[in-house]
Subunit: 456 residues, 2 copies
Amino acid sequence: MALSDTFLSELRADLGEANLRTDPAERLTYGYDNSRRQAMPDAVAFLDTHEQAVRLVQRCRAHRVPLIARGRGTNTTGATVPVAGGVVASFERMNRILRIDPDNRLAVVEPGVLNGDLQTALAPHGFFWPPDPTSSPFCSIGGNLACNAAGPRTVKYGSPRENTLGLRAVAGTGEAFRCGVQTSKGATGYDLTRLLIGSEGTLALITEATLKLTPKPSALRTLRATYADVASAARAVARIMAQPVTPCALEFMDGTALKLARDHAGDSVPAAGALLMIEVDGEPDALPGAVEAVSRAARGDGLLDLHAAADAEEAKTLWAARKALSPAQRKLSPHKINEDVVVPVSRLPALVAAVEALAREHELPIVSFGHAGNGNLHVNLLPRDDAELKRAEPCLRKLFETVIALDGTLSGEHGIGLAKRDFMPMALGAQTLELMRGIQRSFDPDGIMNPGKLLP
Amino acid sequence: MALSDTFLSELRADLGEANLRTDPAERLTYGYDNSRRQAMPDAVAFLDTHEQAVRLVQRCRAHRVPLIARGRGTNTTGATVPVAGGVVASFERMNRILRIDPDNRLAVVEPGVLNGDLQTALAPHGFFWPPDPTSSPFCSIGGNLACNAAGPRTVKYGSPRENTLGLRAVAGTGEAFRCGVQTSKGATGYDLTRLLIGSEGTLALITEATLKLTPKPSALRTLRATYADVASAARAVARIMAQPVTPCALEFMDGTALKLARDHAGDSVPAAGALLMIEVDGEPDALPGAVEAVSRAARGDGLLDLHAAADAEEAKTLWAARKALSPAQRKLSPHKINEDVVVPVSRLPALVAAVEALAREHELPIVSFGHAGNGNLHVNLLPRDDAELKRAEPCLRKLFETVIALDGTLSGEHGIGLAKRDFMPMALGAQTLELMRGIQRSFDPDGIMNPGKLLP
C-alpha cells in the first residue's frame, strides 16, 4: 500500500525525522524474521517513548494503516512479517531497564530490553527472570511476551504468562492503558495481562512490563543420560516428571539429532538412540538428594549411561551435543521447518514413535529434540531438496493431527504467527476462535494490529 | 422480575422437574453468600451436566433473564448474590473428579468439586492443587476459579491463574467452548483460560476445569516468630521475601488480632505486638538449610521469640492463634468488614502503620492479619455499634486510597463482586475498564451473566 504524504509527515512530526525510515534498504531489513518469510513494510518507525507509541497507533488507526510490533525478529513463525504492508514499529530503542526491585521481586522494563541483558542486570541481585529462549542473548522481552516464548527452565519456573505481573500498553483503539498489578497476587478484574501475553501484537503494543523475578538458586547440577532408543528415553522423562523433584531443565535429543550433532562436533557427542540432559537446582544442602531422586527416575530399561558432571566445566562439555545441533541442522537443510508441538508428558513415547513413522513414511529427515519435561518437542523437518520439500507439507499436517489426537497442541513456545495460522481450526473449536475474534475486534476495531497473524 | 411460564416450563423440560426450584424457601437459601448481602433469585437451577448448562444459558439469553453461577457461596464480596433477580445456577451437583492423571500432573474436575475433597483425592498420588482458601473444606473449585481465590500457599505456589491449564465453559452468547491446554505449556492463541479465572461468572459458566497439580513436598517445618511491634514484623517479612528460600506460608497477625485471639483461646496464644507464622516445605535433606535461611531473615530488631515446632503436634499448637481469630472476630463484631488489600511486600510496614493510624483516626477496631508473603493483608474493620458502622465507610475508602498510593490493589484473593465494584475506578484507569467492558460485551452481548458484579 502507498502511505499518504499527510500520514508520513504526521509520523515524522510525532517521532522525529530520524525515527521514521522509508528508504527501501532499511525497510527490507525490517521485513523478515527468523521464519525466513519476507514482505516489504511501507515504513519503519523507531519508538523511543510510550507517548510516541500512543500517537503511532492513533495515526495508524485514523489512516487505517497496518501496524506491526517488532522486537528483534527472532521468532520463527513470521509473526513480525508485514504481510499487509504498513508500518513496522521497532522497539529496539526502548531498551531501558526502568527499575530492579529485589525487595518486591520485580523488575520494570521497556519492551526492547534484551532477555540476556536483563538476566545480566539481575544476577548481582540474586534473581533471574525464568523465560530463557535459546535466542536469549539477542531476543527482546517484548518479543518474549508477544509470543509467550519460553525455554528449558519453563519446566520448573513457567513461561512469561506465569512470570509477568503487569503491563502498560496501547490498544488498537489508540487508547493507552495499564493492566495487572505490582504485587505477587491480585483479583481485581479481568486478567488483561495474560491476554496480551501470547497475542503476537494483534491486540495492543506493549510499552512497559512489570516482570516477576525468581531468586536464583545457589547451586546447579547437570546430568546426562543416554538410552538405547527414543522410547526408553521418553519413558524416563515421564518417570522423572511423576516424582516430586522437578528438574530445572529436562532436554531430549533423538538418535537422528545426536548423529547430526556428532557429525558436526565430533565424538565428545555420545552415540546413542536418545539423550536426556537433566539439570537440578536448589540450595546446596538439597542438591545431593535431588540428584539422587532424579537419577533414580532416569534409570530403567534402555539406559546406557548416566553421568553427573563434576563441575561447571564438565557440565559445559555435556551440553556440547545440544549446542552443536542448530548449526548441524542448518548444514543439512537450508529449508528447516522448525516446529514446537507439545503433548502431555505421558504421551511423549507415542509422539516420538509417530514422528519416526512419519519420517519413514514421507522419506524425510526429521530430528526431534527439545523441552521434554513439558512434553514440548522441536520436531524439525529437514528437507534437502525440492522433492523432500514437497513431501514436507503433508507430513506437517499429519504431525499436527497426531499431536491433537494425543491431547497436545500446535505450539508450546513459538506461537502461531503466519506459519501455523491455518492449522488453528485443528487445535481450537470454531466457538473458541470466534470468542478470540470478538476480543480482537474490541481491542482493534479497525483491524490494524498485525493483520493476518494468529487467527485464521 | 417475573419469569414467564414458557421460560419456566422450558427449563423444567431441560433440567428435569426436580432440578428447578421456584419455592420461596429454597430460593431464599440461594440468595445470599458469605458477604451477608442478600437478594431473592426468581429460580434456582441445579445443573448435572455440561449440556444442561449450555441449554440454560441459551434459554436465559433468549428470554433476557439474569444468570448467576454459584458454587458454595463462601465468597465475601456478594459475587453470587442475585441483585437483578433471575436464575441462580448451582453447580453443587456437578461434583465429580473426572480424572486424576499424576503422570501428566493434572486433574480434570467438574466445578462443584470441593477444594478439600480434591486435596484428599490427590494426596495418595503425592500431589496437591495449590490454591487453599481458608474455606477449603466447603468451597468449590468453580468458585475458586471464578474469584481467583488463593490462600496461604500462594506465596510459593501461585493462585488459580498459575495452576489451571484449561477450561470447558459456556459463554454468555450460549456457545460452548474449550480453552487452554492439557499440557504444561502452550502458545496457541489468546489466553481465554486466565481471562475466565477471576471473571466472577460475568463472562461464562465454567463446566469443567483441567487443573495443574504440584508434587507434595515430603516434609514441612513450622516456625512462629513474635515481635515487639507490627513494624518490626513487617520488616522481617520483607527480609524473608528478599532471600532465595520462599516459605510455603508466611502469615501475619497484628497485636489487635493477637489480643482478640488470646481473649478467645487463652494464653497458648502469645502476647506480642505482632506474630509471623512461617512454614517451609521441601525434601527432608533440604529442610534444615531452609529453616536456617528463613530464621536468619526473621531475626532482627524487635524480634521477641522465634520458635520452630518440633513435630506436627506442636505445629498445630503454634497455629492456634491464627485459627482462633475468625471466631474471635465474629464475637466482637457482627458487622465485620472483611478486606483483602494487597501491596508490594516492601510497602507492608507503611500499610500496617497506615491501618493503625486509620483505626485511631476513625475510632474503630481494626485487625490486620493475612498472607504477608504476598503483601496481602486481611484488614478487617470491626464496628461494634451503629456509630462505628457509620465511621467504617469513610475509613474503608481511605484504606483503599492508601493501598493504591502504595502501588497495591483492591483485592488479593477475594475478588470484587458487589462489595468493591464501585471502588474499581480507584484501581483501574477508565481505558482499562472500557477494555474489560468490551470483552464482557463480546462474551455476553445481552448482559445476562451475573449482572451488576465486578465492573462499575
